[in-house]
Each structure stands twice: as structure tokens, then as C-alpha cells.
Symmetry: C2
Subunit: 216 residues, 2 copies
């Protein structure tokens, strides 16, 4: 198909497609004439993946390029390819003087659970950062709560990850990862807050619904 | 204590304290002389709460003022006071034409679980928004996954909320709520991503640790 058709099919403006071509995010089409090229399904799939990475994953184009490089590197195992994408989803590393001891706590927690996680995983720092915030506010992290959380996500992940990393094409595997991580993260957080509100209502024995701004 | 001492004790600059006084976020101190006032522990506690709401909760001062109003309104039950704070934590409502049917799905899910949640809870919209994103990407929300998530957060919340809303002073109850919602949310998300990476490694049978950028 021509670039105009590729734009129509994908919903991505022609100018953006040309920009992706110039930046090497999208491979060139097959030349059909001077200044004309033909594009195929692989271009549609690639545009869709870029859309998921930027719109859902919130990644900048420079980071998208790094993920696409991993997708195209056939010498890279599916596990390492997914690792590049997973880590690209962030969060960005933060500077915090108290982070080192907290990172040791995190490493200890992972070792106790036998979780096999890269030293570079950004979530190590994210967890350490949260533990620092608790300490800064004068609260010791509640290890019983941490254990319950770890049990819960361990169970959830054991049922989800096989679904995401079954023998599907690499592009699709990355899309599943981004959606499973980012969108289902939003689902989990929203459900958690709804459950909190419900249990707060139960706990405080609210019997009459109210029209006030608070919980009903 | 004098305002300079209040600043030293709280770590909040004098100029900021004066601003809070002008905006009515901090009640005036007891007048001791012309242009001099004395501040007490309740001012320290209030400054600390404002700090938690802005730094941890990420709230703007206008929203902080709304939460403080609820704290000071003794006619408001603890449940409703916490509701004002919980809803203030967001997320902001979004515009989405497809949101209405998704909101109906959310209401159905809540009804099926018997969860008692205010019609105004922002998390209803947050969950509906995530469901819309899935549909936009051509994936139907996986109801088995939603049920597993709901089971997990139901169990977690049933054990945490009593801790947060035991008979503690109102200020402390709000602090517990903000910390429990925001910081432990970060803990949960980080743990989930670590568990995902571990299960991905298990699933893809990664046997030799590697120094590549991906999962090890």
C-alpha cells in the first residue's frame, strides 16, 4: 500500500509516518518508483506498537527506539527483549541519599522470596524509594503488609505472565507486556481504592447512604 | 512558641507559614503582643498534615484547603472526612465519550461484590477509563483477571483499613489514609513489577544470569 493508505489504515498522520521513517523507527518501504514506496502489514504492526509504547506506555521516542532495537535484534532472547521493554516503562531513577540501605532491604526481600530479578530493574529503586518515604514520615515499613502484598502480586503474576509471554510474535509480546503492566496496573490501583472505600464504610459502620461529598 | 521556632521545629520556612496563615490553612496563633503570636503543638501537627497532603498526596493547596475544612468540621463523621481526603487524591476526571458504558460495567462489578462505594468516587472513573483503553486496543477486559484482582485487593484492604481508621485523632487518620493510599500503592506496584519479572524469567526458563540490559 502507499503511504496515504498506510496513514488511513493506521490512523497515524502522513507527516508522523515520514518522521518515523527519517528517525529509523519505521523500516523503509519497498521502492516502486522514484519517491514512491510500498508498505505492508509489518509497517501497520510497527505503527501500532509505536502507538502502544507512546500512548499507553508513555515512553519518549528515544526510549521507543531502544525497545524497537531490542525487538529487531533476533539474537536477543524473548526474555531479554521483554526485559528491555519492562525496564523502559520506568520509573526514572531518583537521587536519594538514604536509598542505599533501602535497596539492601529490597535485595533481602527478593532473596527471601527467591525472586529472580535483574540488578538493573527500576522497580527495585521504586520500592526502595517508597520505603524511604515511609521512614522519612517516621513510620517503619510494616513487614506483615509487605509480605501480604508480595504474596498477592506473586499469585497474580504467576497467572498472568504465561498469558503475556506465550509463543506469540515478538511485537505482540511487547504489546501484551505494556498493556499488562500499565493498563492492568491502573485497574489494580482503582480496584484497590474502591475496596478501601468499601472496607472503610464497613469498618466505620456507615449505615445510611449520604449525598455528601464523602464516601456514601 | 514563636513563628521562628515553629519554623525550626517543623522544617517549614517562615514565609511559607505566613502564607498558610494568610490563606487560612493554618489557624492564627494566640496574640501575645502587637504583631506577635504564640503557636502550639496543634500548629506543628497541622503543618505536618499539610506536608503529607502536598508532598506525599501531591495535592494542590486549593484541594488541601478542602481536606482541612473536612478535618475541622466536627459535624462530619470520620467516614465522611476520610471520604473527602480519599477522593481528593484523585485521579482527575477525564473526558471520554465511551466512558458511560464502562461506568455501567464498573457499577455492575461493584454491585456483584456488594462493595459500598460512593457514586462520586474518582476510582470508578479511573477503572472505567482503563477498561476503555483496553477496548480501544481491541482487547476485551479479561473478567477472570478482574475477579482475581478484586479478590486480592479485597483481602488486602480488609486487613489494612481497620489499621488506618482505628480511633485515632482526625489529623492522624488523614495522614494514615494518604500514606496508606499513595505510598503503599507505590509499594504494591513495584512489588507487582518485580513479581512479573521473576515469573517471566521462570516462564521463559532463563537459567544463566546475564549482564545484558534485560532481566537477569
Amino acid at each position: 500500500m502507499r503511504i496515504s493508505e498506510l496513514s488511513r489504515e493506521s490512523g497515524v498522520p502522513v507527516a508522523t509516518i515520514k518522521y518515523y521513517l527519517r528517525e529509523g523507527l519505521l523500516p523503509p518501504g519497498a521502492s516502486t518508483a522514484v519517491n514512491q514506496a510500498s508498505y505492508g502489514d509489518e509497517h501497520l504492526r510497527r505503527l501500532r506498537l509505536i502507538g502502544v509504547l507512546t500512548d499507553v506506555g508513555g515512553l519518549r521516542l528515544r526510549t521507543v527506539a531502544r525497545v524497537l532495537e531490542a525487538v529487531d535484534d533476533e539474537g536477543l532472547s524473548t526474555h531479554h527483549m521483554l526485559g528491555v521493554a519492562h525496564h523502559a516503562l520506568g520509573p526514572e531513577p531518583t537521587d536519594d541519599a538514604d536509598l542505599e540501605p533501602a535497596l539492601t532491604d529490597v535485595a533481602r526481600l527478593l532473596a527471601a522470596r527467591g525472586w529472580q530479578v535483574s540488578d538493573q530493574a527500576p522497580s527495585r529503586r521504586a520500592l526502595a524509594h517508597a520505603l524511604c518515604t515511609l521512614r522519612r514520615l517516621g513510620r517503619n515499613p510494616d513487614h506483615a503488609v509487605l509480605d501480604r502484598y508480595a504474596d498477592a502480586v506473586d499469585q497474580l503474576a504467576s497467572k498472568e505472565v504465561p498469558h503475556a509471554t506465550a509463543t506469540v510474535p515478538r511485537t505482540e509480546a511487547i504489546e501484551n507486556l505494556v498493556i499488562g503492566t500499565i493498563v492492568y496496573e491502573a485497574v489494580l490501583i482503582a480496584l484497590r481504592r474502591l475496596a478501601q472505600e468499601h472496607h472503610s464504610a464497613q469498618r466505620l459502620a456507615v449505615t445510611t447512604p449520604s449525598s455528601r461529598t464523602g464516601h456514601a
